[in-house]
């Protein structure tokens, strides 16, 4: 088994209203950041994953997103899987 650092990005679907993104955009404008637009607020989920191979890790994360981490009806998701250095360097 090897361990991988996984980063999952979950954001509200582009065609749906994002009330939180709208509120943050208006606040940024009021703070003077006139150049900011299309603000969207989503979730960033990071985890360590033990898996036999990178392909297997990829498949597992895909399944995690479909089953739990993202709501297919209102959210889109993307993720990256990067091998972690040898166990010695892996923090607890």
């Amino acid at each position: 088994m090897a361990s991988f650092q996984v980063e999952v990005r979950v954001s509200p679907r582009a065609d749906l209203l994002d009330p939180q993104g709208k509120a943050v955009e208006q606040a940024l404008k009021r703070l003077g950041f006139a150049g900011a637009s299309s603000v969207r607020v989503g979730k960033l989920i990071t985890l360590t994953l033990e898996a036999p191979s990178r392909e297997e890790a990829h498949r597992l994360v895909e399944e995690m997103c479909a089953k739990l981490l993202a709501n297919p009806v209102t959210e889109d998701y993307s993720f990256e899987v990067a091998p972690l250095p040898a166990p010695a360097a892996r923090e607890g």
């Binding site: 009330p19 939180q20 509120a23 943050v24 606040a27 009021r30 703070l31 607020v41």
Partner: protein
């Protein structure tokens, strides 16, 4: 006492707080819209509960950008009394008028229920009519009410007596080392439910005293906090 209740877009306990201040405590009370910047006519400014700006991004994160907050900093420096209840406490922390922050409850859920508070410091303008160790039955209603602060800041708060209320059992007992205590539904460090700033004139508390100020609502314990502020203003005049 002349009291002002700030109305942010999204505040929803403003009318409740106004009712208790004007009808029950008998203070001369007015609403302060969040764009106003002149607080000079007031002795006490209350930031009420609610979901200012929908609590989007972080509870209180956007409300602290309102013009009235600038004026509030000066008002507090001049010794005016400031009281942040629930969302008001979150805004005061985000604005730097109070130390620490309010994070999501450990149970991750919104919790609306009665709790018991123990008075830890009866020498503040908000607790002068209460006695140390006294137990108050006051309700909470929040999802981001877990008070947290870095270890050194937490120690400082304890040493300066800035902790005013702690969540406790009905008999007033509590155990500082106990995690997930049933009497502390949000998991606040040291069971902290309310604090004051160093000067002692700015109070932030998560429980809602305005919801426990009339017998018909099954508790009047909250009224004493408003009455203490009234007395403090009277004495200061």
């Amino acid at each position: 006492m002349r009291a002002g209740v700030i109305v942010f877009p999204g505040s929803n306990c403003d009318h409740d707080t106004f009712h208790v201040l004007s009808q029950i405590v008998g203070a001369d009370t007015r609403f302060v819209f969040h764009r106003e910047t002149d607080l000079s006519d007031l002795d006490l400014v209350v930031l009420p509960g609610g979901f200012s700006y929908g609590d989007y991004l972080r509870a209180g994160a956007i409300a602290r950008l309102s013009p009235v907050i600038e004026a509030l900093h000066e008002f507090a420096q001049r010794g005016g009394l400031v009281m942040g209840i629930c969302n008001g406490f979150q805004i005061l922390c985000e604005a730097g008028l109070l130390p620490g922050a309010l994070a999501v409850n450990t149970c991750l859920e919104f919790r609306c229920q009665w709790v018991h508070l123990r008075v830890e410091n009866a020498a503040t303008p908000f607790t002068s009519s209460l006695s140390p160790g006294q137990v108050l039955r006051i309700p909470i209603a929040h999802q981001e009410g877990r008070y947290i602060a870095p270890p050194d800041l937490l120690e400082e708060l304890e040493e300066n007596g800035q902790v005013v209320f702690r969540y406790c059992r009905p008999d007033g007992s509590l155990d500082l080392k106990e995690r997930e205590a049933p009497y502390n539904p949000n998991g606040s460090l040291n069971h902290i439910a309310g604090i004051v700033n160093r000067q002692g004139n700015v109070l932030g508390m998560m429980p809602h005293p305005e919801r426990a100020s009339e017998k018909v609502l099954s508790s009047e314990d909250g009224r004493a906090i408003f009455m203490s502020a009234l007395a403090a203003v009277g004495a200061a005049r």
